[in-house]
């Protein structure tokens, strides 16, 4: 049994998520990715040389889709329509630096809401997304503090609230 106070890294978060009866992972991952979205945007502004780069838009679209999917109580077939085609998306996110991590976290957050996914897989993706977001934020502060920022107040909510 993992207590929320025992969550210190990706593995312990995954264990904690696995032990929960319902899947809280998608909302947690989505929220973590949303928190570091501005870091990705700033990186993109600085690095991108291409006006109208569609890859930039993937992140915005994916996060917007995540929120719509998470809120929807539609059947799986309809929910699937909200999720953008992610083929090849992860492999193109190989840039160095915190913004790439933010993008990775974001991607994983969305993958965690793909309909019909197994809970264990969703929990794993969510844990990666949350800690990817923390790593991204850690370029602005230390990693421990970033983990707390990304996860801190959500941990407390997770233990007492339904999503």
């Amino acid at each position: 049994m993992v207590d929320t106070s025992d969550i210190v890294d990706q593995e312990s978060l995954k264990k904690w998520l696995n032990a929960q009866s319902g899947s809280q992972a998608p909302a947690l991952a989505c929220r973590a990715a949303l928190r570091v979205l501005p870091i990705f945007l700033e990186w993109w502004f600085t690095r991108s040389k291409t006006k109208d780069d569609p890859s930039f838009f993937d992140i915005l679209r994916i996060l917007l889709s995540s929120l719509v999917v998470l809120r929807a109580d539609d059947d799986d077939a309809k929910r699937a329509a909200y999720v953008p085609n992610l083929n090849g998306f992860v492999s193109t996110r190989d840039d160095e630096g915190y913004a790439a991590e933010a993008a990775g976290a974001t991607t994983m957050a969305v993958m965690a809401v793909v309909p019909n996914a197994e809970k264990a897989w969703v929990d794993k993706c969510a844990a990666e997304a949350v800690f990817g977001a923390a790593l991204s934020l850690s370029f602005k502060r230390n990693f421990q503090a970033s983990c707390f920022s990304i996860l801190g107040n959500d941990q407390r909510r997770l233990s007492s609230e339904s999503l």
């Binding site: 809280q24 928190r35 700033e42 502004f45 930039f56 838009f57 993937d58 917007l64 920022s149 609230e161």
Partner: protein, 230 residues
């Protein structure tokens, strides 16, 4: 969890305020397109805003834009999103006005029933319920057009013109200029000789007049955007 503000106590550890300014002045980054939808969207997430059903419907419509369009980048997709936002906002305004119109017509009918001896002002104002009915019909037409996946800009312009005409007619009844200010009009309405119960909370004749005027402008704007977008 997703209904909560993104950070505690209004914190902004990732510098969103600076980024949002960059997005709103996007020329700096050679991103010359309107980013206001995305800025508003993220602002609301930061605040933990509770969205209404129609706002979720609008976001759903944005998400469901075809992959083919998303792949063409911000300068292609942002104007498409702008159209969706304008269409949903106009549709929401139509529905709000219909509710208001219904309440007002009910209140007027009840009020006139009470005036059994037909005082002069009741007779003089008999045309107002007719105008409200015409407005109701026009709102119905607007609703049908706005519910379409691709509203016709010419039709929207025609509806807009008729709405502005109706707003001007109703404004005359209020003894006001066409460009109304609700509070001022509400103050003066009691001295204009219109003594039956014209005000029912937000459903006043003045609010209805201003609403028709605003909706007319929104439809003109939407029609113009549709025409530019081809």
């Amino acid at each position: 969890m997703l209904k909560q503000p993104l950070w505690r106590s209004g914190e902004d550890p990732v510098g969103w305020v600076r980024i949002r300014s960059d997005l709103l002045h996007a020329d700096t980054h050679d991103l010359g397109t309107d980013w206001s939808f995305w800025v508003t969207w993220y602002d609301e997430i930061m605040q933990g805003k509770t969205r209404s059903e129609w706002e979720w419907g609008m976001l759903e419509a944005v998400v469901l834009i075809d992959d083919e369009h998303w792949g063409k980048g911000p300068s292609h997709i942002n104007p498409m999103i702008d159209l969706i936002v304008k269409q949903y906002e106009a549709l929401q305004e139509v529905r709000r006005l219909k509710n208001q119109n219904y309440e007002l017509q009910e209140a007027i009918a009840a009020s006139q029933n009470r005036l059994h001896n037909n005082p002069p002002e009741a007779i003089a104002n008999a045309a107002i319920p007719n105008k409200l009915q015409v407005l109701w019909n026009e709102l119905d037409v607007a609703e049908v057009e706005l519910e379409k996946a691709s509203p016709n800009p010419d039709r929207l312009q025609e509806i807009a013109k008729r709405l502005l005409g109706l707003a001007a007619d109703l404004a005359k009844y209020c003894g006001q200029k066409a460009d109304l200010a609700i509070s001022k009009a509400a103050e003066e309405i009691g001295t204009s000789g219109t003594k039956w119960a014209i005000r029912v909370g937000a459903g006043s004749l003045v609010a209805q007049t201003e609403g028709a005027q605003n909706l007319g402008k929104m439809l003109f704007d939407l029609a113009k955007t549709l025409t530019i977008g081809g």
